[in-house]
Symmetry: C2
Subunit: 446 residues, 2 copies
Amino acid sequence: MPVDMDKIVSLCKRRGFVFQSSEIYGGLGSCWDYGPMGVELKRNVKDAWWKAIVQERNDVVGIDTSIMMHPRVWEASGHVDSFTDPLVECKACHLRWRATEVSDQRCPKCAGELTEPRMFNLMFKTLMGPVEEEASTIYLRPETAQGIFVNFENVVSTSRKKLPLGIAQIGKSFRNEITPGNFVFRTREFEHMELEYFVKQGTDEQWLDYWVKERFDWYIELGIKKENLRLRQHGKNELAHYAKDCYDVEYLFPMGWSELEGIANRGDYDLTQHAKHSGRDLSYYDAESGERYVPYVIEPSAGVDRSFLAFLIDAYDEEEIGGETRTVLHLHPSLAPVTVAVLPLSRNERLTPLAKEVHKQLCQSFMTYYDDSQSIGRRYRRQDETGTPFCVTIDFQSLEDNQVTIRERDSLAQIRVPIKGLEEILRAKLGGEAFDTSPLWATRQP
Amino acid sequence: MPVDMDKIVSLCKRRGFVFQSSEIYGGLGSCWDYGPMGVELKRNVKDAWWKAIVQERNDVVGIDTSIMMHPRVWEASGHVDSFTDPLVECKACHLRWRATEVSDQRCPKCAGELTEPRMFNLMFKTLMGPVEEEASTIYLRPETAQGIFVNFENVVSTSRKKLPLGIAQIGKSFRNEITPGNFVFRTREFEHMELEYFVKQGTDEQWLDYWVKERFDWYIELGIKKENLRLRQHGKNELAHYAKDCYDVEYLFPMGWSELEGIANRGDYDLTQHAKHSGRDLSYYDAESGERYVPYVIEPSAGVDRSFLAFLIDAYDEEEIGGETRTVLHLHPSLAPVTVAVLPLSRNERLTPLAKEVHKQLCQSFMTYYDDSQSIGRRYRRQDETGTPFCVTIDFQSLEDNQVTIRERDSLAQIRVPIKGLEEILRAKLGGEAFDTSPLWATRQP
């Protein structure tokens, strides 16, 4: 049973995950700002992707291309012609509607008469440079993928890698959506994590299978419950114009099963199009076999913001503990905005110096939060609500024995450990080590 | 004597640091793409900033606001009125020029007659949403700072922090510059690292001094040579309309001393303006003293791309070694795109499995590069050229003694170490430990 979206939106506002953009001016439709907690969760999602896709592999390199690209890129890619939605306009109030959304011939707002459907391009236009001519009309990219395709030749010739080779990118994309909504799920400004994996034709189907499994497993490894995740193959009539085959990884959001990520077999569509439009040879020469060919491309394309939302929703829980309800985010420790909170038992001139020393030590290695206000119980609850996996409590005994208590978010176990070994223990825990309450560490259970 | 910019541009292209955007279509003016090496260096620069500014401090939190903001934000901030350059237009060819750049009354291109100077706003405009009305004209942000100011209230109320409090952000900004240039130094699309540090009036001057020193030292700690860095206080007539005082951190680029970062005392200008335009009370209540006031703001504002460029230029060297010239980037190990290269002595069926095993082990913790083609000497040179601080070489003796050779980029020292302790030793080296060639590790000097 998924949690209400309202509860998530409210938590996000209350605890600094997500604010409405330009809120003091009444907000800007479908734009959102990530607050102090949200920015860390989002950074961790992106870093986890980069680690799995780029750092830990020898067959993928990264790239970071500009949002503004040459307009001919979007002619070649097909976005100028086909990245469109049919819209109708009200002849009276001039409001526009997605044609598929209005069932009758009258405007849903003022009951005015509607025009025939016209195609509306989803790309944002702007003018670049001081000369206001047609030539300087450019688009904000609606996807990061094309930045990869137009650099294929550059990357292959400078990286000294052979196929199969992946090029990965994380960055902002923009789509002038007609009906954005569901919080950060569908927005006009959003962030993409895209991998274009170039392979030889004939191996493309097995690489598609490989990447579908890899990407599905990634979400599971980072804590998404298996029952909330499913794969869905696109029907033939549903495939984009460039796709030979496509699978969506879907998550059970509060509004129902919705796409987290698409893994498509784009064939040789993009490189062929760009070769045709640019006049450049974008084929690949395989020195071992002596063959030259235009590679096929497998594309796992994920949304940062909707992954962020899925991780948040999936981690959300309300638990009964001792007759009280605690709201807790069971986020994977590597995704949690704060890894460790340092909490002196009370704001006290004897405890504060030691607590600050512990904080200073830990913040070299971990995202750390220092809090010395209100009761320790309330501070634990607050950390639970933002998903902090570990709290370190400094009490008066710490002044004598140089030990502190680690409290674990999920199990609520508390163990007593020497300050000196704190960093090492936390590192082991982050690596997935179970909480060891044996006498060696658990010298006291307060 | 600074290196020629041409050499840097050439290295960047050749080794995959920076490519021209949309190059296969003839390029897009002043837009650049970061290649496999560039994206890692840029990520490391941003991560180093985030670690120093957010992670290691208890008085700063992060945020990530949208590029598209409510248009009234830019009225309040003054950008609609004053973020302008005076331009003249040629009546014949309609090319526009910065008025200060044309000394006579004739177009530098076609010698046509020029118009009187008119003000040209540097913000990029676009239309948001399906309704094409004036109300939906929005701007791409020309700085990330305003996203922080309009969220000041949200952050203070949800983060439970007291003043002095900093809010930090890294993100893209856009300025429709008339004369971009000097490679990635001045571009139309660029990345900002901005901190807005909110303090009580009266303490602002000492906080300005504090942040000027902090920021200057940051570049030094990350390896910029002191003689290539200077501070310059703005003259009274040079100050922006919002600034009470401002210092630039300047770097000796090939084109001369140029701004890397500005550290400004913005006073209470921004919060006051937004309070006035939004009708919201943006003052801060100090619970301890019972006072309510509008905070002053100290703003260290740095460019990611120009920091990237400065680190690259400063690290560049050509050295004579054994009668040959090696090109080397003496990048700080925490900034280097690749931390460790794994190089089997030759491509050999006995060496490859062990080398791949070492690579697999190291890439869990470090950005790692595997290369087994061409001679070991050439591979070392290639790693030098992209600034890889450590090369790990696997030779035939490794198969017997489970030891490998670490070769250090700067000292060219080689030490023999057990594979088992490799990760720990590299971690210590990254932490700044000197290269220990004592017999304990240096069991063999090949």
